[in-house]
């Protein structure tokens, strides 16, 4: 038997793994990947709620979150490329200055 709580616990597990990745990793690319994991975990929770209430609202929201995920990856990776061109590093502990 698979209940709503099974899906929510899976969602919590993935979200926390993603959050840990953002906190402990120094490579900005891996931090972005962790954010992707967190977004996927939110979609799991939304679709589970949608399935248990039989309303399509959660599915619609999950679709919009996927669009946001694509936009976030595009802009974030462009920032990484721009920063790498300037400083030759992808490690966040070397990103200390606001000026160029």
């Amino acid at each position: 038997m698979v209940t709503l709580q099974h899906h929510l616990i899976l969602s919590v597990a993935l979200f926390v793994i993603g959050a840990t990745g953002v906190v402990v990793r120094r490579n900005v690319l891996v931090m972005f990947m962790s954010v992707e994991i967190m977004l996927a975990s939110v979609n799991v929770a939304l679709l589970a709620f949608s399935r248990w209430t039989l309303l399509p609202n959660g599915q619609a929201l999950a679709m919009f979150i996927m669009a946001v995920m694509a936009a976030e990856a595009a802009v974030g990776l462009a920032l990484v490329v721009a920063f790498f061109r300037l400083r030759r590093t992808v490690f966040v502990d070397e990103m200390k200055l606001l000026k160029g």
Binding site: M1, V2, T3, Q5, H6, I9, L10, V12, A13, L14, V16, I17, G18, A19, T20, G21, V23, V24, R25, N27, L29, V30, F32, M33, E36, I37, A40, S41, N43, V44, L47, S50, R51, W52, L54, P56, N57, Q59, A60, A62, M63, F64, M66, A67, M69, A70, A71, E72, A73, A74, V75, L77, A78, L79, V80, V81, A82, R88, T89, V90
Partner: protein, 176 residues
């Protein structure tokens, strides 16, 4: 027969969930970014399987196409663009801040699970073909959420323009 289907679904759920969690852990623990990216693909594909089991086949397809496909190709391109070989594989440093971060994440997991631990624990109601049909989702998206759909379109356009202008080599620098 129905009971057999039930236990099949349960086993499938646990398999997909275990693979999603394990490969997510591998994503954040591998030292080389390309390995992390490949593990992330495995994790996102497992999540797509979960989507399919939740009666959302269209979103499962989108997850494979967009998240595990397009976004991951972008990630691999950027990794190859910026990777510095040996420099990117520096030894791990276990600092106080990072241990604290992991412990805080564990605490977050604890309070989140306490928050969702609300009986009754029931199985999903019968869904039927109407719920699983992409048409239901489409009608919601172009009906109730039409404005959101337009805004998402504008956001994607802005993001594309922003990505181009950010990543463009500044050819005018040093002239003015």
């Amino acid at each position: 027969m129905v009971g057999e289907m039930q236990s099949m679904n349960t086993i499938l759920f646990y398999l997909l969930a275990a693979s999603a969690v394990f490969s997510a852990l591998a994503t954040i623990t591998r030292r080389s970014p390309p390995a992390s990216a490949i593990w992330l693909v495995v994790s996102l594909l497992s999540v797509a399987g979960i989507f399919g089991m939740l009666g959302a086949p269209f979103l499962a397809a989108l997850q494979v196409l967009i998240a595990a496909g397009a976004v991951m190709v972008l990630f691999l391109f950027v990794i190859m663009l910026v990777d510095q070989g040996e420099e990117s594989l520096r030894p791990r440093i276990v600092s106080f801040g990072r241990v604290l971060g992991a412990v805080a994440s564990g605490y977050l997991a604890l309070i989140l699970i306490l928050a969702i631990w609300k009986p009754p624990f029931v199985e999903a109601p019968k869904s039927g073909a109407a719920y699983e049909a992409p048409l239901t989702l489409a009608l919601a998206v172009v009906g109730r959420y039409a404005l959101v759909l337009e805004l998402v379109g504008v956001m994607l356009l802005v993001a594309a323009v922003a990505a181009i202008s950010l990543a463009k080599r500044d050819t005018t620098a040093g002239e003015g």
